[in-house]
Subunit: 338 residues, 4 copies
């Protein structure tokens, strides 16, 4: 039984994490911290957990966590705040899965450019492993610090990895058009996230400057073994959860028939239980509340169009975090996620 602490327990990813870990046979949640809430029950902040968890929100105290035998800390804190806390728990020997962006970008200068502030913990950054299990599972197993991947990046990276790893498409011509439910914007009240603003509306945002862009570039550059820069446009969709990503690529030279491209995908993910390469176009509803990432491919006028769907809170955040936990602590990758 691994003792777990969750930092930043009031948001949507924390709630999703709590739900998954409560089903995990080898995890015991011993602490949930919150900066905003006072001494309230976790189930008061998250009424859906009534009767399922007796803990109360507590202030973050790394010494106390260590003393209580916490071995693994999930941080659901916002970037910046997360690095500060993560450094303190790493120092005490706990392993960390950080759901913020703080340790995703290897180069602190890239972080500084996109986030408008310095990376707060460059020392630990050196040892952080990017927590996308399908591409970095060896590193994850051994890691003390896993940088849990962003929701959009997973669709873009896993949607493109088979093509770029096999040098099948022009790396200067990768267009990623994503559509996300509103929970991805978090639980902090903002005008743009009010129901009457989002409902019955679609809008693009962060056009050309969304912070998930360098994360996509970094992982695809790894896969391609050369620098990759993508064009990425996210859109806000009136639904709670789900991301649908449509990717437009330009193949080199003459292109094999669709069946062969599909086979490239099937081969690439043959060992990955959570990637479903399917015949039909995936709907976000079909992966909702699961850790699956669904994808298919179409050929349109000589382009490869890749269509990818996942649940942004489960596979896009807390589910993949538990998948990482399973790898780090030697459990079956699917535990609590199937």
């Amino acid at each position: 039984m691994t003792k777990i602490a969750i930092l930043g327990g009031t948001g949507y990813t924390a709630l999703e994490l709590l739900k998954i870990l409560l089903r995990h046979p080898a995890a015991e949640i011993v602490a949930v911290t919150s900066r905003q809430e006072g001494d309230i029950a976790v189930a008061e902040s998250h009424p859906s957990l009534a009767g399922r968890i007796d803990l109360r929100m507590e202030p973050f105290d790394p010494a106390s966590l260590a003393q209580r035998g916490v071995e693994c800390v999930f941080s659901c804190l916002p970037h910046g705040a997360s690095a500060s806390a993560v450094a303190l728990v790493l120092e005490r020997g706990m392993r960390v899965i950080d759901l913020s962006a703080d340790y995703r970008l290897r180069d602190p200068a890239v972080f500084a450019r996109w986030y408008g502030e310095p990376q707060h913990d460059p020392e630990n950054l050196k040892h952080a492993v990017y927590g996308l299990p399908e591409l970095y599972s060896d590193g994850i197993r051994a890691a003390r610090l896993v940088a849990n991947p962003g929701c959009y990046p997973q669709t873009a990276i896993l949607g493109l990895a088979p093509l770029v790893a096999n040098q099948l498409v022009d790396l200067n011509d990768l267009i990623i058009d994503s559509k996300s439910g509103v929970s991805g914007a978090g639980r902090t009240p903002k005008l743009t996230n009010l129901f009457p603003e989002c409902n019955e509306s679609v809008v693009a945002y962060g056009v050309g400057n969304h912070r998930h862009t360098p994360e996509i570039n970094q992982a695809l550059s790894d896969a391609a073994e050369q620098p990759v820069e993508v064009i990425f446009t996210p859109h806000l969709i009136p639904m709670d959860r789900g991301i649908f990503t449509t990717i437009y690529t330009k193949p080199f030279g003459v292109w094999p028939p669709l069946a062969q491209v599909m086979q490239v995908y099937r081969d690439y993910y043959s060992e990955d239980p959570f990637v479903r390469v399917i015949e039909n176009v995936p709907a976000t509803k079909d992966s909702a509340h699961t850790n699956f990432i669904d994808m298919t491919v179409r050929i349109v006028r000589g382009r490869i169009v890749v269509l990818v769907a996942l649940d942004n809170l489960v596979r896009g955040a807390s589910g993949v975090a538990v998948q990482n936990f399973n790898l780090m602590f030697g459990h079956d990758e699917k535990t609590a996620l199937w």
Copy 2:
């Protein structure tokens, strides 16, 4: 051409009012004020108005409004703030339609009890007319100050008026169950109004203590010519706009057949263009974006069940405000609303 000013121009009712008044052949909007926004274009605060209005938000200045010949002021300010502003424009001879709750309750003590603060302008309150045209049109025509009615109260009052005015039901047994879209909660960011909190959810709120209750009681007491107190439960529904109200009443003695009850309703509203007494159960969608209030009646185990629907932003607020304006300034009641 009547010159108009709108106070509190950033919310949903102000936007709806602007849209309706821009179509009004006899109204000219000369000022829109805002406390929160700086010197920005009205169309920047409300992008749907791009290309349709050139005004900028301005601070509230009653002298300037008077000087520019404003004859009618619509206040979309919150209660409390509204009374303070309204007193100043009344003083300068402008007529006012107040969309806040400040002048709806005749008895300042009742206001104080339900709103937890004193009514801020008892002097003008004495002359305010409750702006529900189907019941108070004579007063409205002559009024200097109209208290525009609440959205829920209109469904309850107009749904029950034919029954209570004709002494057909037990006044101690009036149960009003209302379902409202989220725009009724306003445009101020609050956790409970975030898309991921409201979407895919229904919840009751203000059970037994919603502030629209005394307003319903007051108007029904007028109609019944004796004190009436209702049981009122509002619910939040994942949609932008619309209120559906289901009313349960207990008739006295033997009850006439449904056809006769329907006739009571048709007779009662025979002169009212915006009340549609219909055969089918009204869906809120069928009155959305209109000034209609739709209703029908059913008999269930000897009870009369009244089913009422309207658009909370148009008929529930800004549409009825323009209907009041039309009455006050001698226009056809339907102008800009048909």
Copy 3:
């Protein structure tokens, strides 16, 4: 490992049942039948099950089910069709949980009156047990045939049982106003269930004549030990899943304070893991995708208002079906449902 068959595998309740049973450690799904679909994979009809189930839809053949050792049949067929199939599998010694309405009403004459056709299997009806575990668990444990309860009725019955069983309220004055997501209307294409008809709209339907009424009456009459007839109005809400029920009751004589009423509820459900008697008003979102039924009580002008929420597909249908299965086959009631 109990071998399971599901009849009528294409609808929403069948999908939900499949998802729950795939997590059940002591259940093995060996057959899924469908009348409409040809020889297609279950995962083709339900793409969310891709990679999780290898079965294909098959025609209903009771002999084959018996031969393959099926011990428990869940019928998700429509009423009428269900009784015909159920009779055949009971005959072969399989136990049945019927999710249709066919065996819910003890009196075939009542069935005939509300459903406009005779009850098709009066012989087995005599032995059917109404599958509401909180009220009928002893019968369920021993039953060969469980009539799984309707979604609305569970909210009304469990919301009222503590009051009527304790003779605290007037049985002639029970008003039940329910609000349901659209999945309750099934997966058969109908104009009224199209997205653009339901979205951004609320409407009442079946006012005074919804078929769940006699089911509510029957169970409450059991609890009250005298005949009960309720007034029940369901409404369609633009959301996938969830039912919120608001119940208005009139207490006898002087009424104890709210705290005492809450205690009545807590005592009544003290042994029932899936009933959560809570302080706050339940939102349907907080029980979504769970088998919980959440409720609280308020006193409004001397009336008791009960507020109840559940997920219509899980607790309202397939979750409670598995809860019944657990009771029938000696598993912990919470297995696969917690």
Copy 4:
């Protein structure tokens, strides 16, 4: 007063057309035909029109329309059926605005290839004018037969016209990613359009083979004065109405700064009241229920990204139909649409 008939009166575009024409000071609706409905009131098929229109649905009878002095026929019939009816009314001298796809593609062979059936009226096709006012207003003014444009094509064509007409982008690299509300799929019950299928989900459909593709190609080829073929992917979004289109283009050579591109757009549409070239990214909500088409431009890694929004039922169908009517009959283009 121009006498109007509407063919195919039961769908969403017919309803929207009725609403707009009821506000039109120079149009009188004298007939609404329906194949499916019997002799029912128009307001029974469309309850939102209760009290606003007294007509009943009637069978299509071109002689009767001519006899009653109908001068303009709007056909809301499905393609195929529409051409058959249109030929008959043209023969009797009435002018026609056809909202179906029957006359949009000049080359009957292209129609046959994309629609899988022959174009049914090649004779009249020769004289049909594509009804996109911003590009073809001269032809529309004089036309006897206007082929009202598709909803998606308007976003793609108007979003790209300034770039292709000015030879600023590579015509082999036009990627159009569209997101549409569900009303675009029509009012015929289909599984894929049920609320619980669409809600909380996004999915692409018609990838590479949507029938609006050749319509986009044809109009852009006109604008470019050379053949253009686009890559077009539509997506279904859980909302009633609205289309958001994101267009990715590759400029030739060195590219002018954003301000200059914006100026190209403003100049191109300087005379077009319904095209709003705006600074902010348009949300579909801001053009909902209007005839506006909103657009802006961004530069991302050297590409021009164009972002376009409109209401698919108004600007995408019935609003632009009335705009065409206004041009054909000499009214101000904005009549009934402002």
